[in-house]
């Protein structure tokens, strides 16, 4: 089975947001980056499916040159090869733009199954996977928590809201967006890191200008919805003050 996993490189979780001088994007150069967490689960699921059913795992990412780092990491975890759609204009691209350039680079590969995370930890649009499925003419299922392969079809467990789930059967080829927590992640071994150096990263360029449908006109710190009393002092003092507030001011203890 030929499986593709679309991964995105996003700022790390402990990154402190800094906004650029024009106030419409982050200071890219100051950020540190990592693999988008839901995509890491999608990669893990692909590796497990390959282990169970055989085949090949190809990781795909669209972004500037720095994106090669997460592709290398995916290769070190066990992916077989990588496709990098490279362009600086993809740095802040929306789901439309990303799905468009990925579809172009991936179409000829005729993957049996495409996996990706349900959304990204940067823009969080939750669109790229579904749009990619539509662009490639594939059926899709989103927010998937279990994948079972049955000959030429898939049976997947979709998460609904509030603790509800649903099984859905769909034919292959197909695209799934994967929910975090579907499996336990593996990390790259030294052997994997060494092996990754010999694996292929094919770099392509979009054939046309990257065109986005969404334009961020302003980026700023969130407005507070509540007035927060930050209680200062050493832990013991702050704890005493907080308990007093909860007992006497808020009356909830």
């Amino acid at each position: 089975m030929k499986i593709a996993v679309c991964i995105k490189q996003v700022p790390t979780r402990d990154w402190q947001p800094r906004i650029d001088d024009r106030g419409a994007w982050i200071r890219d150069a100051d950020a540190t980056y990592e693999m988008n967490e839901p995509d890491a689960y999608a990669l893990e699921e692909a590796l497990r499916l390959k282990e169970a059913h055989g085949g090949e795992v190809v990781v795909c990412s669209a972004g500037p040159a720095r994106v090669a780092q997460v592709l290398r990491e995916a290769l070190a975890r066990g992916a077989d090869r990588a496709i990098h759609v490279q362009h600086d204009d993809l740095t802040r691209a929306d789901g439309f733009a990303l799905a468009g350039v990925l579809a172009e680079a991936m179409a000829a590969e005729r993957f049996d199954l495409i996996l990706t995370g349900l959304q990204s930890d940067d823009q969080g649009l939750a669109q790229t996977g579904v749009i990619l499925a539509e662009r490639l003419g594939l059926p899709h299922a989103t927010i998937v928590m279990d994948v079972q392969i049955e000959k030429s079809s898939l049976r997947v467990k979709r998460e609904l809201e509030g603790g509800w789930f649903q099984w859905v059967t769909l034919p292959l080829p197909a695209l799934l967006t994967i929910q975090s927590g579907i499996n336990q992640l593996r990390y790259a071994t030294l052997k994997g890191i060494m092996a990754a150096k010999k694996k292929e990263i094919r770099t392509t360029s979009p054939s046309a200008a990257v065109s986005a449908r969404l334009k961020v006109v302003k980026l700023y710190a969130p407005e507070k919805v509540k007035r927060t009393e930050i209680i200062p002092g050493p832990p013991a003092d702050a704890a005493r003050t907080l308990v007093q507030r909860l007992r006497d001011t808020a009356r909830v203890v």
Partner: protein, 323 residues
């Protein structure tokens, strides 16, 4: 005009549909609601017709009984094309996440998701500005949509108040239509929704909750949070990553994929406050946040906060409660 796509399951409207109405009514354009589903939809149609809208369209087809992205896209796309709205609005539910990008892609139109507010645009030709969280809620973005109409927007669940949706003086006119256009093959075969082994804990009834997030670092540290919960007479709960890791059972998860709670007191330990968590707890009466990162989004919804190392603060808090 604005088209609102309503959502219903098991013969009940999703409350988030009313939130979407509350979000788009202030824009001032006439609104049409379309409700897709299997016949009969008349009762739900009557309910929707109470809203101050121009029209309710009931899109009835046996193929729409259980949601599928193929079935819903095939049924809704021709209606959207026929009505030619400037904006198509949906609540940002899990169903919408599955559906809206597909319809927008099929029609090749812009879609902005998880919107929390709408502001008038700087120039008329640019259209309204949509406000949404980015970077895990650490930043907020003002976004405009480009390209031809209709533009698609989904509104974050809980960002608007359902009871603020304006009701009409008299019921809005409604009509029933069958499937138009050609019915493509539906490739997904859905089974009936189900719940996992029944929820052992009903967090919705808890008066106090102590919830832990990634900041707790190790499963062994849950005991420390449990001691604080015991001292407060609280239930223990967690954000999604903790339950994913198996450190607490899934039925202790608060957030969009877990339980939605509104206790008197919610104490968040080492929870950054990603929006998927906030939607599950922001109805709490009093929120306390303890986090090492002063910029963590959880402080935006907190009444009281302590910035610091939870491994120092939590035991101190447990002691202070005992004295």
């Amino acid at each position: 005009m604005i088209l609102v796509i309503a959502e219903a399951r098991d013969g009940r409207l999703n409350r988030a549909t009313w939130e979407t109405l509350a979000a788009v009514q202030p824009l001032g354009d006439p609104i049409t609601i379309v409700l897709p589903g299997a016949a009969p939809l008349a009762a739900l149609g009557q309910e929707l017709a109470e809203a101050a809208v121009a029209e309710v369209v009931l899109l009835e087809s046996p193929a729409l009984e259980l949601y599928t992205p193929d079935g819903y896209t095939a049924a809704l796309t021709p209606i959207i094309e026929e009505l030619s709205p400037s904006l198509v609005a949906l609540p940002h539910t899990y169903q919408t996440r599955d559906l809206a990008p597909k319809i927008a892609a099929r029609m090749d139109r812009a879609l902005v998701t998880d919107v929390t507010a709408v502001k008038p645009g700087a120039a008329a030709q640019e259209g309204p500005i949509f406000v949404r969280p980015m970077f895990q809620g650490k930043l907020t973005a003002d976004v405009v949509m480009q390209g031809p109409a209709p533009h698609f927007v989904t509104f974050q669940v809980g960002a608007f108040r359902a009871e603020q949706a304006a009701r009409g003086a008299s019921p809005a006119p409604s009509r029933v239509i069958g499937p138009t256009g050609e019915r493509g093959a539906i490739r997904q075969q859905p089974e009936a929704p189900f719940r996992e082994a029944k929820q052992a804990v009903d967090l919705t009834q808890a008066e106090r909750i102590v919830a832990v997030g990634r900041g707790i670092k190790e499963q062994a540290h849950i005991a420390m949070a449990q001691q604080l919960a015991d001292a407060l007479g609280a239930e223990i709960a967690a954000s999604r990553p903790i339950c994913d890791a198996g450190w607490l059972p899934m039925d202790r998860q608060v957030g969009s994929s877990g339980q939605t709670v509104s206790p008197k007191l919610y104490v968040a330990l080492g929870i950054s406050g990603a929006i998927q968590h906030l939607v599950g707890m922001k109805g709490s009466q009093v929120v306390v946040a303890i986090n090492k990162d002063p910029d963590a989004p959880i402080f935006e919804v907190a009444d009281f906060g302590i910035v610091g190392d939870l491994f120092d603060i939590v035991p101190a808090l447990t002691n202070a409660l005992k004295s």
